[in-house]
């Protein structure tokens, strides 16, 4: 209660001068705070382990984060509308096994067929999420929790729980190839990032995403088709799960039905560390990029230091909570 009274008071009594400065300051912190945190972690790691800054290792980090990065970008769209997508790991696995079934062994289809099949699988399942959430008002948490289980089940059913290996070399290029010195998954991640950044920042659809998340009632009264926007963000998330499915199958050369378990946690973590509010309407895709990088660099750095993966989980969890704490204190102070 005291916070509300305080916030109201500040707004009413000194609208102009003060909030301008603090707004700019907080904008600066939102835009650059996470970058500063990222650089700080990198600096510390490079002092502790000289190998950290080597081109080889940095490319390795980027390759490792690209799959979570693609998922986290889809998740950003969803979370910006006040939603959540818990099904990304399962959708990814399902897309991956469907795509792989068209790219395996001697009867592998033309490269575009498995790619399309993977993307369409992700898109379709995401669209089912979106349809039921937007049209029948099923809470996103419940719908995508259900989908997490359903899509996982479908993944096992599809090939009787068996992995599909021996993937075609052209297909594997998606995960293993290198173009102009950059691994293909990294290029895909960057491409998805740029398109999404542009979409959220410069298109009417991007505006609608923020409006729907910021205040769905106001968006509806302002003539925005809230249902369509809601549907679309889950479809986007699904499509990106399809892409991630292609990437993971191509990278490992096999599609495993148990792939991507708990991947939704890393994707949500990246979005949250990146400063996007779970309450919707507030956040940036650039934040998600650095959220993804911070998680990747931490994992990598702790690996280099020989810290066991058990401890890594503790550190990662702590970072998530810390990020949200900083975000809260920023919000209440501005």
């Amino acid at each position: 209660m005291s916070q509300q009274v305080l916030a109201k008071d500040k707004g009413v009594e000194e609208p102009a001068k003060n909030s301008g400065i603090s707004k700019r300051l907080s904008d600066f912190m939102v835009s650059y705070g996470i970058i500063i945190a990222f650089l700080f972690i990198c600096a510390v790691l490079s002092v502790i382990s000289p190998y950290f800054l080597s081109t080889n290792n940095l490319l390795n980090v980027l390759r490792q984060v690209s799959i979570n990065g693609v998922l986290a970008i889809g998740m950003t769209f969803v979370i910006l509308t006040r939603g959540i997508d818990l099904s990304v790991g399962s959708l990814m696995a399902c897309s991956s096994i469907v795509a792989a079934s068209f790219a395996a062994g001697s009867e592998a289809s033309f490269i575009l067929v498995p790619i399309m099949m993977g993307l369409v699988t992700g898109l379709t399942l995401g669209a089912v999420n979106g349809l039921l959430i937007a049209r029948f008002a099923i809470p996103p948490f419940v719908m995508t929790l259900g989908m997490l289980s359903m899509a996982r089940g479908l993944t096992y059913i599809y090939n009787d729980g068996m992995p599909i290996s021996n993937l075609d070399a052209t297909f594997r290029f998606i995960g293993q190839g290198v173009v102009l010195g950059m691994p293909v998954p990294v290029l895909l991640f960057l491409g998805v990032f740029l398109i999404s950044w542009f979409t959220l920042r410069y298109t009417t659809f991007g505006r609608y995403v923020y409006a729907v998340g910021g205040n769905p009632q106001a968006a509806m009264v302002s003539g925005i088709n809230v249902r369509r926007v809601t549907f679309t963000v889950y479809a986007i998330s699904g499509l990106l799960c399809g892409l991630a499915g292609l990437m993971i199958a191509a990278r490992t050369g096999a599609a495993l039905p148990q792939a991507g378990v708990a991947y939704e946690l890393d994707a949500i973590a990246a979005v949250v560390i990146g400063g996007t509010s779970l309450a919707g309407g507030r956040g940036r895709i650039v934040g998600t990029l650095f959220g993804v990088l911070i998680i990747g660099v931490l994992n990598n750095g702790l690996d280099l230091l020989g810290v066991s993966s058990f401890y890594q989980q503790v550190v990662k969890g702590g970072i998530i909570v810390l990020a949200v704490m900083l975000d809260r204190s920023r919000l209440s102070s501005s």
Partner: protein, 494 residues
């Protein structure tokens, strides 16, 4: 003399980052009195109240309670001295019962840790009964109306032995009948010897209920005295700090051409058989008590809900909106009653709010032109004198009046011909109200029309060319010319 005062605040000062918000806060509250604290937005009222509540520390000055100097560092301290605040901003727990809310954190206990529900309900019933409030303590708070929730808050304040009760705009979201109940409860408080500090932008209310007044302007104390010694004009002039020629500026002239026609509009459970027409250049008032179906009617007219029966025409063409977008395409705009609930993206910038309903106008092929958008926003900010540091300022930092101007600017960007305003001056100060009235007159020239609802009789009388009265979801009558007066409005609406 000062020993008889319940509360005496003198020379209170407070700055935020070097910017003074309060330069000379003064308030003398007598026991058993209702004290109107008046001033426009930015006058320093909220700062003063927050200092009295212990939410903000003061930079200077003194606060005495019954002659004793006090220093609060938290609202809990203030509560310890019997100061309690009741406002719209309070968030009680809707899933708990009335009694549980009243005794939240102070539940009567058995054996030290088991809540003694029987005793709690009995005590709650006692407190509510003492105020003549007909609310069962066992019902969930979420099932009550806003007015009832406020009365529960009053009961809570009494059960905490509060002697100084601050009420910030208690009537801004409740209907007339509920206002009466609230006033009754406030009088009971007064009879018990409590002092009530009462903030409201509704002048009528202040003259009805308050005994004393204190006026603030630009962070400074301007005057204090007995309500009986002043009139409405003096109060408004002093709040604004300037002579006010006319409270309602009205200079539109209704024409003959009909721009909107509604026949037999019905939505079961909300309103029934509503017919009306709007002419070019006209301001059509809709008067009715809260819950009379007027907001529901506007919602339906704007396509948010579909009518179960009835037809409408705009400029002679059949109008059957399937959603707000259709209504907007037909030239309608709708400033809703609840700014924060469905008008604004409070966490977003002025720029984004202004372009929200018309992003396509500043876009090409789905790409938003930031330059055009900013230009449009700056123009609106300038035209409506929206006080802001920049168009990137977040709307939640703005006062009610300025927020309302942002909502208005958003809708003007859609270039409407029919502007629907649901309680357009609720919760905004006298200065902003006058700008709103001037704007309505200005807008309704050039072949456009305004439909405005209000529950304030002076406003409806001052601004409308014609008035439709709603009663319990039905059309109770239409008034214009010499029939349009306070008695007829009151008679038809209740």
């Amino acid at each position: 003399m000062s020993n008889n005062l319940l509360l005496e605040a003198s020379n209170i000062t407070k700055s935020f980052s070097g910017v003074p918000a309060l330069e000379n806060g003064v308030l003398r509250l007598r026991p058993g009195s209702i004290h109107a604290l008046c001033g426009g937005n930015g006058a320093g009222k909220s700062t003063l109240l927050n200092i009295l509540m212990g939410v903000l520390p003061r930079d200077g000055g003194s606060i005495k309670i019954e002659g004793r100097d006090v220093h609060f560092s938290s609202p809990k301290d203030a509560l310890g001295f019997g100061i309690s605040m009741i406002s719209q901003e309070l968030e009680p727990v809707p899933e708990l019962t009335v009694a549980e809310n009243i005794f939240l954190g102070r539940e009567p206990k058995k054996a030290g840790f088991i809540v003694d529900y029987r005793r709690m309900f009995d005590q709650a019933r006692d407190v509510l009964g003492e105020l003549n409030i007909q609310i069962e303590p066992t019902v969930k708070l979420g099932s009550l109306s806003i007015a009832e929730i406020q009365m529960v808050e009053i009961a809570k304040a009494i059960s905490q032995n509060a002697r100084i009760i601050i009420m910030d705009e208690p009537t801004s979201a409740i209907g007339e009948r509920e206002t009466e109940l609230l006033f009754e409860a406030v009088h009971k408080l007064k009879d018990r010897g409590a002092g009530i500090i009462y903030v409201s932008h509704r002048m009528n209310e202040l003259f009805r209920i308050a005994d004393d007044y204190t006026i603030m302007r630009d962070g400074t104390f301007v005057g204090t005295g007995s309500m009986g010694d002043i009139d409405r004009k003096y109060l408004i002039d002093t709040i604004l700090g300037k002579e006010l020629q006319e409270e309602f500026s009205k200079f539109n002239v209704p024409g003959e051409r009909e721009i909107l026609r509604v026949e037999h509009y019905t939505r079961h459970g909300e309103f029934k058989d509503i017919s009306l027409s709007l002419k070019e250049g006209e301001i059509l008032g809709i008067f009715g008590l809260m819950g009379s179906g007027r907001s529901e009617f506007l919602n339906t007219l704007f396509g948010i809900n579909a009518p179960h029966d009835g037809e409408a025409w705009i400029d002679g063409a059949k109008f059957t909106p399937r959603g707000p977008r259709d209504a907007m395409d037909a030239g309608m705009a709708y400033v809703t009653e609840d700014r924060k609930g469905n008008g604004l993206l409070v966490g977003s910038s002025i720029r984004n709010n202004i372009s929200m309903a018309s992003v396509k106008k500043v876009s090409k092929l789905g790409l938003v032109s930031s330059r055009k958008e900013a230009k449009v926003a700056r123009l609106q900010v300038e035209n409506h004198q929206i006080k802001s540091s920049s168009i990137e300022m977040e709307v939640r930092h703005m006062s009610g009046g300025n927020q309302q101007k942002v909502v208005l600017a958003k809708w003007l960007q859609t270039d409407p011909n029919i502007l629907m305003l649901d309680e357009p001056t609720r919760g905004i100060d006298v200065g902003a109200k006058r700008e709103m009235y001037r704007f309505m007159s200005e807008f309704s020239r050039n072949g456009k029309g305004v439909i405005m609802t209000s529950s304030e009789i002076p406003e409806i009388l001052g601004m409308s060319d014609r008035v439709i009265v709603f009663r319990k979801g039905r059309l109770a009558g239409e008034l214009s010319g010499s029939d349009l007066n306070q008695d007829n409005l009151a008679r038809l609406s209740s």
